[in-house]
């Protein structure tokens, strides 16, 4: 960059070209230049349209029918929706899902934030550590769930129970008791998703101006006060993102539950999406399943919008 500077005279740019009127030969190119971004977007848009938007719209449409693939669908209007509102099993599943989402999201945000604080540093050994800690987030949930299923064997000589036994803690039932199954699933989810939240929090932490910390220390703030007064407020937009992502992820929890417990024991870990899955595959009632899915979509949109609106108000308060 230094090579460009000439000796003493300031560099003068040529006079700006006047682009207000039409220029011969460039009118057509100028008028259609805005098409170019749309052309770049078109393949992705087409992909999303075919595989995401259209199936979602079709699913909402199917919820108004008694779906029979070969014999033809029968119109039932809102019967599927009224069935959804009066189904006690679905209500229990909603309760489990909301509880699981709340605890797993809060837990993974908390643990993710702690990990981010610990591992936000440019040193190479910290980078290696960060990659290692991030590994659970990129493993396939099905494989992870199978491994945890084996590790959490509830007998005295299961892998985790042996470890606990060495500390004198009795064999815990983990997934095989309805009292601890949901809590165990929440722990597995926190283990898997906290590193993902950590990475987002690290990105947020890196973006905080170091001078704020310096001026806070000069004013006499200790580490805890710096955290409360500088770090947390600066992370508000990041926290909002992590919260919204977590909510969406939490409400549609499926793989962990399907592989670890299939909704059992005794229906204690049934979630909304496992109910939808069973309704479609076992009960052959794709119309009712679509109704539940549509309601889930509406709930997710409402919650996400509410979170964004609340954050918007807090920012501008």
């Amino acid at each position: 960059m230094a090579a460009l500077r000439t000796s003493s005279a300031p560099v003068t740019l040529p006079a700006k070209r006047d682009r207000s009127g039409p220029h011969p030969g460039t009118v057509r190119a100028h008028r259609y230049r805005w098409v170019i971004p749309w052309l770049f977007l078109a393949p992705a848009l087409a992909f999303f349209a075919v595989f995401k938007f259209w199936p979602s719209i079709w699913g909402v449409y199917l919820s108004l029918f008694h779906v029979q693939p070969y014999l033809g669908d029968e119109w039932v209007g809102f019967a599927n929706f009224s069935k959804a509102f009066s189904d006690p099993d679905l209500r229990a599943a909603v309760g489990h899902t909301v509880l699981d989402a709340a605890v797993a999201v809060a837990g993974s945000m908390f643990v993710g934030f702690l990990l981010a604080l610990l591992l936000e540093a440019p040193a190479r050994h910290v980078r290696i550590l960060r990659t290692a800690v991030f590994l659970p987030a990129v493993t396939a949930m099905v494989a992870v769930a199978e491994l945890w299923h084996a590790l959490l064997f509830p007998g005295r000589y299961g892998a985790v129970n042996s470890l606990l036994g060495d500390f004198g803690v009795g064999p815990l039932p983990f997934l095989s008791s309805p009292n601890s199954s949901l809590a165990t699933i929440m722990l597995v989810q926190i283990w898997k998703h906290a590193p993902y939240d950590m990475v987002i929090f690290i990105a947020g932490l890196v973006g905080i101006d170091r001078q704020l910390y310096e001026s806070a220390s000069i004013d006499g703030a200790n580490a805890w006060q710096r955290l409360r007064a500088v770090t947390l407020p600066s992370l508000r937009p990041v926290t909002t993102i992590v919260l919204i992502l977590g909510l969406i992820r939490g409400l549609r929890v499926f793989t962990e539950i399907y592989v670890l417990t299939n909704g059992g024991p005794g229906g204690s870990t049934e979630s909304i999406v496992t109910t939808v899955y069973k309704t479609t595959v076992t009960n052959n009632d794709a119309g009712y399943a679509s109704a539940i899915s549509s309601l889930l979509l509406v709930a997710t949109i409402i919650l996400t919008s509410a979170t964004l609106w609340w954050r918007h108000r807090r920012e501008n308060a």
């Binding site: 087409a46 938007f53 259209w54 070969y70 014999l71 509830p154 005295r156 009960n283």
Partner: protein, 447 residues
């Protein structure tokens, strides 16, 4: 500027329309035309089977033999986990395959969906060679035949013979024996490693695919119970009888009082339960003859013995299952029928048993002229398996319009009962009500 903004909107709308039409064309029905009831459409016979791993090779052996014999080419499709979903998609597109190999338990379901054709036994060559029991698994609630049986099996009791020897126990012959042996296996350290890490009975107690009720059915019938009572397409649920209570109390006590079942049972499918038996975590297991090959491939080969399931208070019935050949509502009914006729011949049944040793797609032959043991190096376990199927085999009520849904409800109830170690009578009464309302939904309720 306003003009280009308006043009922006027009093109955005066009782009959305293009996306929509792309989606619509992606959704439109596939090809399906041609063929009447008497004349087949042209093209190869489309055969689907729910299989993975080595099983497709065994199917291919039968298909190749059929093509060699008749000249009819076969176009195959195999998948395991999402078979019903793919079949549903084909049904929606009115582009069904011509022949499907699937569990007998799917018969009522397929018939309710309208995707299978009734079978005229008199027009199927070789139909009289098949065992009567296998034809029962191919009928609907009215007694009309809707499939051609292909393979059958019944559960046997696998016991660790080395553990029996070490603890000086005789092979169990009654329910009390089973409970006593299970207790001994759990408390007396039969593998001699000084740790209390063994259990008596391996049970797949998960609700996945209805495993727990699938397993419990044997004891339910052995106590004299039956799922449904009725005839001519009208049934009532009968799972709250004293016989059902006796079976359920005994089953529950294994988990809750005696604690002789592997502790992870309530979340275990047959995959985990197989492992529990193969790795010496449990000492007894009710499973089918298809397990001989898989068990023999593990370190317990030669260390287990296979018995006929011990009798319960009323009888010695044991769970029987089968694979059927479904003739789908496709466009090549004559070729499909010819294929079914070939698949039940001794040649095809033997191929199914022996073509691929690790994948016996025919477990017990449905053709009564074929001897299973003869095709398995005169292994006496296969003779026992064939005899148990003949004498003790009892199918689930697969002819119900949606047996999978009824089985799932039963599994949920049993899994819930054992998870909380609750009251069996209350659980059975509530289950009976639920089954009754499902029968009504399925249109086969009496009264």
């Amino acid at each position: 500027m306003a003009r280009s903004a308006a043009r922006h909107r027009v093109v955005a709308a066009l782009a959305a329309a293009i996306c929509l039409t792309t989606g619509l064309t992606a959704c439109s029905s596939g090809t399906g035309g041609g063929g009447t009831a008497t004349a087949d459409a042209s093209g190869p016979l489309k055969v689907w089977a729910r299989a993975a791993g080595d099983s497709p090779k065994a199917f291919q052996a039968i298909f190749d033999a059929f093509t060699k014999k008749t000249g009819i080419k076969i176009e195959t499709f195999f998948t395991l986990t999402d078979f019903e979903a793919k079949l549903s998609a084909a049904a929606t597109a009115h582009d069904l395959p011509d022949v499907v190999f699937n569990d007998a338990a799917q018969l009522g379901n397929f018939k309710t969906q309208g995707i299978i054709r009734p079978v005229d036994k008199s027009k199927v060559a070789g139909a009289d060679q098949l065992t009567p029991a296998s034809w029962e698994s191919a009928k609907d609630v009215q007694g009309n035949v809707y499939a051609v049986p292909f393979s059958a099996q019944a559960n046997l009791l696998f016991v660790r013979s080395d553990w029996l020897t070490k603890l000086n126990l005789a092979p169990p012959k009654t329910w009390d024996d089973v409970a006593a042996v299970a207790k001994a296996f759990t408390t007396q350290d039969p593998d001699g490693n000084g740790k209390n890490d063994t259990y008596g009975l391996a049970v797949p107690g998960s609700t996945t695919r209805g495993y727990i009720s699938w397993y419990w059915s044997t004891f339910f019938w052995q106590a004299g119970g039956e799922y449904f009572n009725g005839s001519n397409g009208k049934f009532s649920a009968t799972v709250n009888t004293p016989e059902a209570l006796k079976a359920t109390q005994w089953f529950k006590s294994l988990f809750c009082d005696q604690k002789v079942v592997q502790p992870s049972s309530l979340n275990d499918t047959t995959t985990e339960t197989n492992k529990a038996f193969q790795t010496g975590v449990t000492g007894m297991y009710y499973t089918g003859p298809y397990a001989f090959a898989t068990m023999d491939a593990t370190p317990i080969k030669g260390k287990y013995t296979v018995l006929a399931p011990p009798a319960g208070p009323a009888n010695a019935k044991t769970l029987a299952e089968g694979t059927n050949i479904y003739l789908m509502a496709g466009n090549r009914p004559n070729a499909a029928r010819q294929f079914a006729e070939f698949a039940i011949t001794p040649e095809a049944q033997k191929l199914g048993m022996t073509a691929v040793p690790s994948a016996t797609i025919v477990r017990l032959p449905v053709n009564s002229t074929v001897d299973a043991a003869a095709s398995h190096n005169s292994d006496p376990r296969w003779t026992l398996a064939q005899q148990v199927y003949k004498d003790q085999g009892h199918y689930e009520p697969v002819s119900m319009p949606n047996w999978a849904q009824l089985r799932q409800t039963t599994s949920d109830a049993l899994n819930g009962l054992i998870a909380k170690c609750g009251d069996p009578q209350a659980a059975l009464t509530s289950l009976n009500d639920k089954l009754g309302s499902l029968l009504k939904q399925q249109g086969v309720a009496a009264g």
